[in-house]
Assembly symmetry: C2
Homo-oligomer: 284 residues x 2
């Protein structure tokens, strides 16, 4: 990393300070969480992730980068750290920065509450590849890929969820997200004009109705998305989108399938909603 590259720092002197996400692992937690905190400020930060800081030497390298930024920008950088080992965090803590220790801040009061000592070990992620949960995620990704867009009717009985909806309503990214983040085996089936004419769900689905979730979407939004793919096509026209969505919603209503609208929802929001439904079911 060339932190002395002048281009890299051109806009810093007048802007918000640089933010470093420092971790002994990937830094994903530090970055995700730090971004949630920073989103409370109406400023645009320069952000740098420093992952895999797992030796004293690397900790000193990190300090050098942080201090260089301070020297050049004249502003004290902000550090979000998930370093767990005290010999590493004590090094980076001494950098010329506002050092925020994400883990220890909560571990200390938790030790009191739980009346046990923490283990001070580097995140479980280091043996993650051998864990059941990780294997399930990889297996779910393979399942969801094999069952994308109605490609395979095999093993639907092992699916956790089957998403249905018109083309481009968000089924594929949602299926992959559910698989990747939660190890949920999510198949997905398009509802197409053929199905509407027959007035029936795709033929492999009726036995699994209890695990079907529908995605719908506003016609205007759908037309916009489809026009990016096939501009000016009948497929993308607002009339056709309205037709398909009306038919799909009518079918889901008739078949008693739950659905939600993906119009203003991210794949994270859609997935969270589906997860809650699955959990409630298992409990009821």
């Amino acid at each position: 990393m060339q932190n002395h590259n002048p281009e890299h720092f051109s806009s810093i002197a007048t802007a918000a300070p640089t933010v470093f996400f420092v971790s002994d692992g990937t830094g994903i937690t530090a970055e995700t969480f730090g971004n949630a905190v920073l989103s409370q400020f109406d400023l645009s930060f320069q952000k740098v992730r420093l992952p895999f800081i797992d030796t004293i030497t690397k900790a000193h390298d990190a300090v050098r980068k942080i201090n260089d930024t301070f020297t050049i920008s004249g502003k004290r950088p902000i550090v979000f750290s998930t370093l767990v080992k005290s010999e590493l965090s004590s090094v980076v803590r001494r950098s010329q920065s506002m050092y925020m220790d994400l883990i220890q801040t909560f571990v200390d009061p938790l030790e009191k509450e739980l009346e046990v000592k923490s283990t001070h070990t580097v995140g479980r992620s280091h043996n993650i590849v051998d864990s059941e949960a990780y294997k399930n995620r990889i297996e779910a990704i393979n399942f969801s890929l094999a069952h994308d867009d109605g490609q395979s009717h095999k093993n639907l009985s092992t699916a956790d969820v089957i998403l249905v909806g018109v083309s481009r309503s968000g089924k594929t990214p949602t299926s992959l997200y559910l698989a990747m983040q939660y190890g949920i085996k999510a198949a997905n089936y398009p509802l197409i004009p053929d199905d509407f004419e027959r007035g029936k769900l795709p033929s492999s689905l009726p036995p699994y109705k209890n695990k079907i979730f529908g995605l719908s979407i506003a016609a205007e939004r759908l037309s916009e998305i489809r026009n990016e793919r096939l501009p000016g096509s009948k497929y993308a026209s607002i009339e056709n989108c309205r037709y398909e969505i009306n038919e799909a919603e009518r079918m889901m209503k008739r078949e008693g399938i739950r659905w939600l609208s993906s119009t203003t929802k991210s794949i994270e929001e859609i997935s969270t909603t589906i997860l809650q439904e699955i959990k409630n079911e298992k409990r009821s």
Copy 2:
């Protein structure tokens, strides 16, 4: 949710307290972060995510669930909260719990450091679907899917990364992860015995050598993974796995392609390493 279901609470009285992740959004940040903190304790927690707590009524519902848990288990639950609006957090804060305010804990000192007030607004995620970054992610997922396993040679010039490696070395999940989390357009190509016999990279790749990353893997591990898929096959045999990996590594060395071993690395760790490489390149 049926929190009075006795089964749901059967093991709680003797175990660690229940942990609630409370959020006005998906709760993904609260859960990811809370899990990182909890992993410092050698205890197994009962975990409950309460997402979309975005009204006073829902905040009171959340309090009821937390208090019910306290009543039934006799242990004060732990709450990790990313509620941003003070009218919501002040409700949940009064529950019978150890309440940890993940956002405010860091926003207060940051306000002092930055000498600006925070906006106290609910996470940006609520308009996320319209953002450029979100659209790029969806576009990248579509790209990575279309370019999975060497399926398409079109538009390789627009790929950010092209992963190569033998079958089952981790290319597909890594490509999808890079796309989904970072909006990186990641194509992937298998290296197969045909390529080794010809002694050349797949023919579409040489023009894009600077964006190729290789994945390798220990033969034993590969054989294990392949055996789950096709037990007892030549494809999965340790001899064949050794042959393929030797050939693939020889080819990557000859062609000057960077590679890393996925043997003990999660897709998050592989992706982080690749991201760092891409960034360093752009800076140098």
